[in-house]
């Protein structure tokens, strides 16, 4: 086993630890001038940036490029699996998680990702089994609890919300990102008020995240709040011509009949 493998296998890079948003760059005293070095860290950052912009296809590509440099980076494998889930390719995501598990058999996050893939593919028994394995391994990260929350939401809301709290408390510095994911889960299962609370915090931390603005706008739109339009417009400013945001904005605008009969 080479040094990279050891590094990737036993000491995985903390997820999102190398992110730089907003003013973070300014704080760095020895910032590189000119073209950045295209190393694994660069592609990882790019992948996270694309994720936060809601461009999961490009994020997947960046994770793959990251693995091209070093295929023993656990974050790359996990990221690919998560992006496949986001793209709706659940069967492929489960296969990819299994493949990653061959390389990193003790990573609970991969089991958790596989559980989400099964859950969204409505393979409930497999999802629970995989999630149980993820928790049994121990050393649970925020994502393991997020995954558990998503699986438990249709069964028992209180347990799911407890899992979400655990995820946020386990997140530490990555709290905002975990809150974004938690809010997306809550939104999916209809708990929009709580989702908006989280998303407001997220957009404060990541004001340049088109995905966060979009999710916030969607939640507000579903609750009939007028702020939805501004949030969705903001997401379109950050990521112009984004179909999902454009459609959501179109739905947000009152129809001709609504305007006609408005009191």
């Amino acid at each position: 086993m080479d040094a990279d493998f050891k590094k990737g296998f036993y000491k995985p890079m903390t997820r999102f630890s190398q992110l730089e948003f907003d003013g973070a760059d300014k704080e760095k005293p020895n910032e590189q001038i000119g073209e950045p070095v295209h190393d694994t860290a660069y592609y990882y950052k790019e992948a996270i940036r694309c994720r936060l912009a809601g461009d999961f296809e490009l994020a997947l590509r960046n994770y793959s490029r990251m693995l091209e440099m070093n295929n023993m980076r656990f974050e790359g494998w996990l990221g690919q699996t998560l992006m496949l889930i986001e793209l709706g390719e659940y069967a492929e995501a489960a296969i990819w998680a299994n493949k990653a598990l061959d390389l990193f058999p003790q990573q609970p996050e991969l089991y958790a990702a596989r559980a989400v893939a099964y859950h969204r593919d409505l393979k409930k028994a497999d999802a629970i089994k995989s999630s149980d394995t993820a928790i049994d391994i121990g050393n649970q990260s925020a994502y393991v609890w997020l995954s558990r929350a998503e699986i438990m939401y249709p069964r028992k809301h209180s347990v799911a919300e407890n899992c979400l709290s655990k995820a946020i408390s386990a997140a530490g510095k990555e709290g905002a990102l975990v809150k974004l994911e938690a809010a997306r889960i809550m939104k999916h299962y209809g708990n929009r008020h709580a989702a908006i609370e989280y998303l407001n915090e997220v957009v404060r931390v990541f004001p340049k995240s088109a995905l966060a603005w979009y999710e916030l706008g969607c939640c507000q739109s579903e609750l009939g709040l007028s702020a939805a339009k501004a949030a969705l417009e903001q997401s379109l400013i950050l990521r112009p011509r984004w179909n999902a945001a454009e459609n959501a904005l179109a739905k947000c605008k009152p129809s001709f009949l609504k305007r006609l009969f408005r009191r």
Partner: protein, 337 residues
């Protein structure tokens, strides 16, 4: 060497864990890092599968065959018998995934072959379906069990012949009343052309038969004069021209029924019936049919006895009545009576 996944102590040099199958020694250069992507056409299919899972717990149903079924199917002959329905043996033993592509191809060949049945392309497609079916059947056990290529080829050929016979005669068992065949003369008024393929139904009532109906007669009727005449094909469609008790005449290739001429475009006399003069009273329970024959001996002095014996057929010798034109596709449809 300890497995990272299950902690099982494996023999040195083992690449995968003996217990759990996990990869133990990883060669970083040999790992593919590009995930397989979902084909676009699969998206709606998977959505349907998800709906099914939501409704009926589709994913929860996992069929595990009893041990005796697997043991029984381990033998070659029972597996072959089971494979009369392609993939059934594989399905029972949970090996359907091995042949799903072949099964799909078989289904495509069979359905398109039946769609084009009656044309050369249809026969080629059906032959491919038989080949695919044979492949599925021998793949289950024979190919693994036999050692030499010669043995494998011999068994495959035997199975292919058996399955070809099965495909030839199985429709008779499945739909005993359905029949089909080609016509060998033109009926311009009905846009029927020599070589068109028709489907017929065996279960007929005498009251149903009308002038102009296309029918199949028993081959024995056609073969009575085999010594002197040669029938153009084994299965020939003929057209009812005269009904029981009617007086039928042929004069210069035109049919006259009870002294009334029939439309030549609707009732065209076939080549060998284009005689100078022929006249007969059709006996009860019999029909005069327009049937295509090729004469062996063109110098037969009096053709009337042959016409009587070949063209006047009893009801019990009528096999089936045509109900549908199948080929060509452009003229496919039920026969308008």
């Amino acid at each position: 060497m300890r497995c990272q996944q299950c902690q099982f102590e494996n023999m040195p040099g083992q690449k995968t864990c003996f217990k759990c199958g996990a990869v133990m020694e990883i060669d970083p250069n040999s790992i593919s890092i590009y995930p397989a992507r979902m084909a676009k056409w699969k998206k709606p299919v998977r959505a349907v599968a998800r709906v099914l899972r939501r409704i009926g717990g589709y994913s929860e149903i996992k069929f595990t065959p009893p041990a005796w079924v697997s043991d029984y199917l381990d033998d070659s002959i029972p597996s072959l018998i089971m494979s009369v329905i392609p993939g059934l043996a594989h399905l029972f033993t949970g090996r359907f995934k091995e042949i799903r592509i072949y099964f799909l191809l078989w289904l495509i060949f069979l359905s398109t072959g039946l769609f084009f049945f009656g044309s050369p392309n249809g026969y080629i497609l059906l032959a491919l379906a038989v080949g695919m079916h044979t492949g599925i059947a021998v793949q289950y056990r024979f190919l693994k069990k036999l050692e030499t290529v010669r043995e494998k080829i011999a068994v495959t050929v035997v199975v292919l012949i058996l399955f070809s016979l099965m495909y030839r005669y199985m429709p008779r068992l499945v739909v005993p009343n359905l029949d089909g065949g080609n016509i060998f003369f033109d009926i311009p008024a009905r846009q029927i052309v020599n070589g068109d393929y028709f489907l017929s139904w065996r279960n007929i009532d005498q009251k149903d038969l009308k002038r102009g109906d296309l029918i199949f007669v028993k081959p024995s009727v056609a073969y009575n004069y085999r010594q002197r005449m040669r029938q153009s094909t084994g299965q020939t469609i003929c057209q009812i021209v005269g009904l029981p008790g009617e007086k039928l005449e042929i004069l210069n290739g035109i049919f006259f029924v009870n002294d009334q001429p029939l439309d030549v475009n609707e009732y065209p006399a076939v080549e060998w019936l284009q005689v100078d003069k022929y006249s007969a009273i059709i006996p009860p329970n019999s029909y005069f049919v327009n049937i295509q024959y090729i004469m062996y001996n063109h110098n037969i002095p009096n053709i009337s006895p042959y016409i009587n014996d070949v063209c006047i057929v009893k009801f019990e010798n009528i096999e089936s009545r045509v109900f549908m034109q199948w080929m060509p596709i452009s003229r496919r449809g039920f026969i308008n009576r």
